[in-house]
Amino acid sequence: MSNSNNCDNCPVHNKENLIKLGLNMEQVDYVITMAGNPNTGKSTVFNNLTGLHQHTGNWPGKTVSRAEGGFIYNEKRYKVVDLPGTYSLLSTSTDEEVARNFILFGQPDVTVIVVDATRLERNLNLALQILEITDRAVLCLNLMDEAKRNNIEIDERALSKELGIPVIPASARRKEGMKELLAAIEEVAAGKYVCKPHKIKSRSIKLNNAISSLASKLAEQFPNLPNLNWVALRLLEGDNSIIEAVQSGELGSINAGDSTVQL
């Protein structure tokens, strides 16, 4: 054992640790979700992880509802939920609501944000919004092969430092970067990597005050909710679906770890 190849010992390169489970998702240890802009390759990453053949296509808006699958990695069972691609989590179209509600109410253990490396700035808009809702995420910097073709270079370390989450370069169509992605997912899921997600900096003092005042009141009502500031901001903006969730107390039903919330 001690003499064996280093790569075999390193968790990152131990491919044998991945067992694709397809649709078998019983007794999962962790729930992870794939989110990102349309046409960034979420479904391709999903297929690589689960061994399923969810139809992929080169056009935005192909995935309209959630797809689910599973895999085992290092003896832990994971359930993966593939969400429809969206440009933001702000507006109220059906696909954006599916994505937002799952990240908010489904409380996945890890959210894998799949971004298009050739359109990083636009993709970061969504990534930053996701980081406001959840603090456990991994950024999959997909389509690196195309970025290279377009002479784009990305400093992953700087990006990771700014966002406060692991950043994994990948080319999912060529199955590159998947092992590293799995390792990062495991670290975040198991709590070995503690994310310090980026919070939006350029906000007025007045707005920040209003947010923290509301958030402290929300904390009394919904003590286990991890994303109080975000909920407070949505209330301030007058987001109807969130207002209803507060009014009915539905927002609190996730406190008890109740996973049967209907989305």
Binding site: N39, H53, T56, G57, N58, W59, P60, G61, V64, S65, L90, S91, S93, T94, D95, T118, L120, E121, R122, L124, N125, A127, L128, Q129, R149, N150, N151, I152, E153, I154, D155, A158, L159, E162, L163, R173, H198, I200, K201, S202, R203, S204, K206, L207, A210, S213, L214, K217, L218, Q221, A232, L233, L235, L236, E237, G238, I243, V246, Q247, G249
Partner: protein, 477 residues
């Protein structure tokens, strides 16, 4: 206890309401702006662009051509025609092979086995002459064209051509008062209408989504392509010399598909000017970069994902339909079978529309799956003309070794070019299959709109066939 919680929650909401007034009406914009600001700052730190975006420039050049005002549509039609031509010419030979194996070879063996175990004649008829032959027919006719058509279509999709189609079509749909993304759901409908109806979820506005759902049936689905291709080969291809036949047949099928797009636009326009009144909403469509398709992966997924799944569905529906066909052809009341009663009764009505009773009965039996229309028509035609020497006997779906044999049967059944043409039109314009109807109900949750989506196309179909027939008689008879 609950009351105090409720009150607390109301308090939070009223505080939010009050603060919202303090923060001003442009709050939403400033929130988004600050996100964009941070995103752009982070991107500046992390991204370095070395030199030219060579590949991107090429993409732009290609897009200039395929979305250009003059070349966009011709290129679209040419690509579509190419795909059909490859399907028409490529599917014929493997179809013949499958047919001779499943029917000429396997069917007598099964009959022999049934006889040797003394199976009662009616059970043998229902199972082997009904269920088995219907299934065999569907496999022989459906599998080869699907195995060619789906991978080709998926390659176009992988390449990134579909969003360009949507881009080209957008202005037309907008003029019709519908959403530009309807071009995408329409394209999905060319594969399967049920899938197209589900895909309409990408459209946000309920009004426009409803229009997209109602008009999706005007996209010829894979269950109807074989009908179109076969009838076009017999009646349209038969008009020209043999060398031109496949090109002309493919052209005719493209013509029907384009007519479907035309109806989709006209009906969308009609709906948005009447019961679903409203303005088209704007949307942004991202033209994704062209990506070299992964040929083997595409072949694999389109074969497994689409071809096998769609074929499986067709087989599942063909088995009970085969049983029904055998029964209506073999259950007699007095002199005539049930099928003959219906056909004789409906013939006068059907002739007005240039169709016949056989076609109407076939479309009733084929409500679960359009795939079995042609087998049903052939079987019923043999039954009423009493044509001998083909097939195995009364009420048996038989296989024909060539398109020529099929043509002979239909001509014997009194079919003319007009009947063929009307069948192609009616195949485009009739009620959706039962799966699609159920999907429409699930998506709209409305009996009213499900009924509209079901009957609107069939009313249109009868109108179009009626006018075609009357004009035909005016000029050619």
């Amino acid at each position: 206890m609950n009351d105090t919680h409720l009150k607390e929650r109301e308090n939070i909401l009223s505080e939010a309401n009050k603060a919202r007034w303090d923060l001003g009406i442009d709050l939403h914009d400033t929130v988004i702006e600050s996100i964009y600001e941070d995103a752009s700052r982070i991107a500046r730190k992390a991204v370095k662009q070395k030199g030219e975006k060579a590949a991107y420039a090429l993409d732009l050049r290609i897009d200039k051509i395929v979305t250009s005002r003059w070349l966009g549509f011709p290129i679209m039609f040419l690509l579509l025609a190419l795909v059909f031509w490859l399907t028409v010419t490529g599917a014929n030979y493997p179809s013949g092979l499958l047919a001779s194996f499943l029917i000429d070879y396997m069917h007598p063996i099964l009959k022999g086995v049934a006889a040797s175990i003394h199976m009662p004649w009616w059970l043998d008829g229902v199972l082997i002459d009904g269920a088995y032959l219907a299934m065999a027919w569907v496999i022989a006719v459906m599998l080869p064209p699907m195995a060619i058509f789906f991978p080709l279509f998926t390659l176009l999709e992988d390449l990134g051509y579909l969003p360009r189609v949507a881009f080209n079509m957008d202005s037309l749909f907008r003029k019709a008062g519908a959403h530009g993304k309807q071009a995408l759901t329409m394209s999905m409908g060319f594969g399967c209408n049920a899938a197209g109806v589900i895909a309409a979820r990408v459209i946000d506005s309920p009004r426009e989504r409803l229009i997209a759902i109602i008009t999706n049936n005007f996209s010829l689905c894979n269950g109807r392509w074989p009908t179109q291709i076969l009838i076009a080969s017999i009646f349209i291809g038969g008009l020209v010399p043999a060398q031109l036949a496949s090109v002309v047949s493919a052209g005719a099928v493209v013509g029907i598909a384009v007519l479907g797009i035309f109806f989709s636009l006209v009906v969308s326009w009609g709906l948005s000017k009447s019961v679903l009144r409203g303005e088209a909403s704007a949307f942004s469509l991202e033209l994704p970069p062209y990506r070299p398709p992964r040929i083997w992966q595409t072949l694999y997924t389109s074969l497994i994902d689409r071809t096998i799944i769609v074929l499986w569905r067709a087989v599942i529906f063909a088995v009970p339909a085969g049983i029904v066909i055998w029964l209506v052809a073999n259950v007699h009341i007095g002199e005539l079978s049930l099928a003959e009663y219906f056909i004789q009764w409906s013939n006068p009505f059907a002739f007005v529309f240039g169709l016949n009773g056989v076609i109407l009965l076939a479309y009733i039996i084929a409500i679960p799956a359009n795939e079995i229309v042609i087998p049903t028509i052939l079987m019923l035609t043999v039954l009423i003309t009493g044509a001998n020497g083909v097939g195995a006997g009364t009420g048996v779906i038989f296989e024909l070794n060539s398109v020529g044999d099929t043509a002979n049967i239909l001509h014997a059944g009194g079919w003319t070019l007009l009947t063929g043409l009307n069948l192609m039109l009616f195949s485009l314009l009739h009620n959706p299959c039962s799966t699609t109807i159920y999907t429409i109900f699930k998506e709209t949750r409305s009996v009213k709109w499900t009924v509209v989506s079901t009957f609107l196309p069939i009313v249109l179909g009868f109108m179009v066939c009626f006018f075609t027939t009357q004009i035909w008689y005016l000029f050619f008879v």
